[in-house]
Amino acid sequence: MTEVSLLSLTKSYGKAAALKGISLKIGHGEFVSLLGPSGCGKSTTLKCIAGFEDVTDGKILFDNRDISRKLPEDRDIGMVFQSYALFPHMSVAQNLAFGLEMRRVPKDQIAARVARAMEMVQLGAYADRYPKALSGGQQQRVALARALVIEPAIMLLDEPLANLDAKLRDEMRGFIRDLQKRVGITTIYVTHDQGEAMTMSDRVVVMFDGEIAQAAAPETVYDRPASERVARFVGNANILELPVAGQGGQIVLPGGHALQIAAPVPWAGGRLRVMARPEQIALTEPSAGHLGGRVARRYFSGGHVEYHVDTDCGPLIVLCPTSRSYAEGEAVGLQFDAERLWPMQRTGLPEEAAA
């Protein structure tokens, strides 16, 4: 197991800066996702760690060994690509054996380790197949086995599920996570899919414009985002701008209802922007809610219904169980889960409380 440290990593292409000083420590056996929109620098970070991109400035350490100037072939990494990148002219077993041959592992050991790796990804019966004869999911499992069979220091995954259909993608999430836990390998996973990042990772690193916006456990990133931009990127976020009453911690809704916020608010007076996730708001009778509104749109999606509700705080998204249904145009009351309302700075910059 290996610890990975990125120390003020910078990458520029001419004048354009792709990474503006990334610092991150990834622990032994930790599963970390780099999450962000395209162009945020997550893939560049991964390529720098893999060695496919030169670092402009800064260092990459594997267990305190500086590897930033090493060639990719000398870094001891296992990498899984979006396109799987299997060797088309080699059978499954030959694909797996390649990395071991490069490491000059004796022949009899290669056979044994390849067989074990194929069992690990449940592809024992496919040893002699060529990649073309495998389904997308099977190819992805071969790619995983090929990366892991060499027992690398760390595993890097570059949007490995992006080419799979939705159902298979959900299966593979669990499969990859289980495998990673069993092997206990330090893993860095790049994705633009927040659901993937949330379900699989020990820690999610949200990146925007070549910088880390927040690095925290999935629950923290979701419930206590460091900025409005993080809040909006990770799931749906309702942002309400409300006056603060008294010494802070209490916000006043249009209509007069005051809510006590659980999260510490380090400033008093003025106005505060708070975030409420759609499932942290409940719909009730108009008289019973903290805030009145009218259903503008209703989207049924099986397990729950998403309502777009027009209120005096602007349009809000509410996610409800299907037990009680409201029609479009119907007047409703909105009830907030005050405990989980999360205060953000007006400017939306990362702030102390969330760090």
């Binding site: 893999a50 060639l71 990719p72 870094r75 990498m79 060797f87 088309p88 002219h89």
Partner: protein, 279 residues
């Protein structure tokens, strides 16, 4: 019904192929078994005379290995020259790729007679190369650059280079660039990647390029005639000689067919040896 309609669409090209390829071949096949005659193209009845004459007289028979050798050498030279070019174009930027593509195709813009004649100007005993070297005092007698296999193979390779570059290029471009990165991440150096990844993956391109160039080289007439004179004696030269100058249609047809069948066998054996199991 749908099948029927689809096959109707093939009719024009099928008719064309039948009229201008199948029928003439049948004609050549029949002609090769006709009896020879004096003062006219062919005589009454059938005989094996054409084939017997070709294989029994070394003057003719030896032209076949000569043609095959020329094809093999041209193919090998083209492959060696074309591979680095294709590799370079495949990894070049989009703009450069267009320019390089144009350069590779440019030999095809000049007619084959002109191109071959151009080589005679360069390679002749008093040609550009020999006279330059002589004036520089490096040689006293001209180097034998023409009227031998060297000159003909060189000129043929020049002519057929694009036919090797293009299939190689398409197979290299079809390769996922991440495959090479994957190989590197597994610990392979550049040379190993070329030997174990790039080269085998480009095998379909090598295969079709080689077959294309070999077939073209073996059936070439103008270049061996101009650059080789009658001293590089290919079967094609003898075929034309028999058909047009000597007016012996059965003999010419027999030689042409023998050449075609030999080339076909070589191609089949080559394709068999380089069979690609993985795609």
């Amino acid at each position: 019904m749908r099948r029927l309609r689809a096959s109707i669409l093939i009719l024009p090209s099928a008719a064309l192929i039948f009229l201008f390829i199948v029928l003439p071949y049948v004609n050549v096949l029949v002609m090769s078994f006709r009896a020879p005659a004096d003062g006219q193209p062919y005589g009454e009845g059938f005989s094996l005379q054409g084939y017997v004459q070709f294989f029994s007289e070394s003057y003719y028979a030896l032209s076949l290995p000569q043609s095959l050798l020329l094809g093999a050498l041209t193919t090998a030279l083209c492959l060696i020259l074309a591979y680095p070019v294709a590799l370079h174009i495949a990894t070049a930027s989009k703009r450069w790729r267009g320019i390089l593509y144009g350069i590779v195709l440019s030999p095809l813009l000049v007619g084959i007679v002109v191109r071959s004649y151009g080589w005679t100007i360069l390679l002749g005993n008093s040609g550009v190369i020999n006279s330059t070297l002589r004036e520089m005092g490096l040689i006293t007698r001209p180097l034998p650059l023409m009227y031998n296999n060297f000159g003909v193979v060189l000129a043929l390779a020049h002519v057929f280079l694009p036919f090797m570059v293009l299939p190689l290029l398409s197979s290299l471009q079809a390769m996922d660039p991440a495959v090479q990165q994957a190989a590197r991440s597994l610990g392979a150096g550049r040379l190993t990647i070329f030997r174990r990844i790039t080269l085998p993956i480009s095998m379909p391109g090598i295969q079709s390029g080689c077959i294309l160039v070999f077939v073209l080289a073996i059936s070439s007439y103008v270049t061996p005639a101009l650059v080789g004179g009658m001293r590089v004696k290919t079967t094609t030269l003898l075929v034309v000689d028999a058909l047009i100058d000597q007016f012996q249609w059965p003999f010419g047809s027999a030689m042409a067919l023998t050449l075609a069948v030999s080339a076909g066998i070589v191609v089949l054996v080559f394709a068999r040896l380089t069979r690609i199991k993985w795609s």
